[in-house]
Subunit: 331 residues, 2 copies
């Protein structure tokens, strides 16, 4: 059983990623955040990771009667079944069909809710981050891959089977670069971290005279290219890096225009490692989106950065589990 000293009604959120686990405690009325960092066990070893997580929770938030969290929420980087609490497929953890809710509820004796990590992060940004007070928003997290979440009319969109908001594999260019999903021209195949790095390597290999700053910043080891390195090189005037940045940003803008037309949000919130490492991306994408989307939904749109950083998922998982347990309306 869990406790968090001095809190009357709180919930605990866990962001279960491929290499690390973030834990946040969210208070009843505000996001009082404490967090704990934990390495994930070896890939594929679900039982060991789960036991370490339970030990950590019991250690950091020891039980006393009367101060249990109202709920524990877990955001998982992968495909989950929210109604059974089973992780169907989490590629980075190499988990397939791992029951997660049942053992956690047994060990912790509080209600547990399992959800997709990007949905959790969207929920966190909505309630405590850049989405506070808005009823219509799209959150897009641009990291190695791209995932999203949508709030419309004050409701978090789940879709029929809980997977709404898969915006990274939106086709924007029929003849575009090959994506990890097998299609061509997905938004992710232009702007995902892996895609920016891939394209950089291709161009650098094809043009030995180009990209001096990228070569310098990677010490010539093209395997270590990241969006951040491309961004840094671009800021030094590296024209290849600048063109890579423009391609990624404009593709992002095309995707945003599609989302603006489809959802008519008041805000688009952009988070994730690529957005952080390549700060110029937002302005390039915004310019492109505003030149393409329809006038009506553009009238009041704001495109902003996420505010909660890497804790968005844990904070959101805690808040969403709490609200689901309480049957909060519209959520």
């Amino acid at each position: 059983m869990l406790q968090a000293a001095g809190r009357k009604a709180h919930s605990i959120g866990i962001d279960l990623g491929g290499t690390k686990i973030e834990i946040a405690v969210v208070g009843d009325t505000s996001a009082q955040v404490e967090h704990v960092h934990l390495a994930t066990g070896p890939a594929g070893e679900a039982e060991r990771t789960l036991q370490e997580l339970i030990d950590c929770l019991k250690d950091k938030f020891p039980s006393t009667p009367g101060s249990l969290p109202v709920a524990v929420g877990v955001g998982v980087a992968g495909q989950v079944n929210p109604s059974t609490g089973v992780v169907q497929f989490a590629p980075n953890l190499r988990w397939r069909n791992v029951p997660l809710r049942a053992p956690l509820e047994r060990a912790l004796a509080v209600p547990v809710k399992i959800m997709n990590d990007v949905h959790a992060a969207t929920y966190g940004e909505w309630l405590y981050g850049a989405g506070r007070g808005h009823d219509d928003l799209v959150c897009l997290f641009v990291g190695t891959g791209i995932g999203g979440g949508v709030v419309s009319g004050g409701r978090f969109l789940m879709g029929h089977s809980g997977s709404a908001g898969e915006l990274g594999h939106m086709t924007i260019d029929l003849a575009g670069p090959l994506c990890s999903c097998g299609n061509r021209g997905c938004l992710e195949a232009f702007t995902g971290g892996w895609a920016i790095a891939n394209l950089a390597r291709l161009r650098l290999r094809a043009e030995p005279e180009e990209g001096p700053w990228i070569r310098r910043l990677t010490n010539g080891d093209l395997g270590t290219i990241t969006a951040q390195i491309v961004s840094e090189a671009a800021s030094h005037g590296d024209t290849l890096a600048q063109s890579l940045q423009t391609v990624a940003g404009r593709a992002l803008g095309v995707g945003l225009a599609n989302m603006i037309n489809a959802f008519n949000p008041a805000r688009i919130i952009l988070g994730g490692g690529v957005m952080a490492g390549m700060p110029e991306l937002l302005a390039i994408a915004e310019r492109e989106a505003k030149s393409r989307a329809l006038k009506a939904p553009l009238r009041e749109i704001e495109i902003v950065k996420a505010e909660l950083g890497p804790l968005a998922g844990a904070i959101g998982a805690a808040a969403r589990a709490r609200d689901l347990i309480r049957g909060a309306p519209n959520r």
Copy 2:
């Protein structure tokens, strides 16, 4: 004041198009449909059209106390402000900033709701057509242009300013054909009626030996090409017509895959004149969508034809006005 004999609680719906007006009466518990057909007055003459509409309503549904409709709903082919009841821009009617709700309420003495015609049609299909009983659906109407509407989690999505569901101008191909909106490669620029006809004309002019059946069916007047003619020519084995149909259908499938990923609907409902005139489109699009969308949202998807035909808008406008007046939850 309006009456509809023998009905206890009914509402009236009006679909205000560029050339015709459809009027439907919807009963309290089912879609008992009566409908009236009326030509729209000359383009730009809002007052005259409005007066003819009022006269028609008073004539067809004369007033007696105790049998007033609970509401009148009007779906307009254009951009409306649902909260002010003003038609901001209706290109086919050539209306700009025409107040529609206020004069109708004055003349009819019942509450009036103004909405976008595609939203109205989606609402109609949801409650009385191919969407009955589903909480998560996307309706796409493929006519000269392409418009859409979305229901998610049992709620009709409006977006921040009422324009959610603009799915026709989704970019699917950065280098695709030029669209009426100024961008390249919108879904509409491949599959809208105008686009299919345009592309057919281009190909027929470039290839004088090709398209014998299209030429025959149009008596050589390429200005009269429609999606239906292309479809008919294709069914006679005209290979140019077949390839035009495949291009339009596959583009539609790419758009549907994007929608399946974004909204995770249980059903996609396809309506509109192009879908009716080119029946092969659905199967081609479905095959393409299923080969592209992510596995999770594909698991239970159904792609079906709309059921209400050209009355969907009037039926939906009546039902939505009624539900808005009653403050029905989730709508």
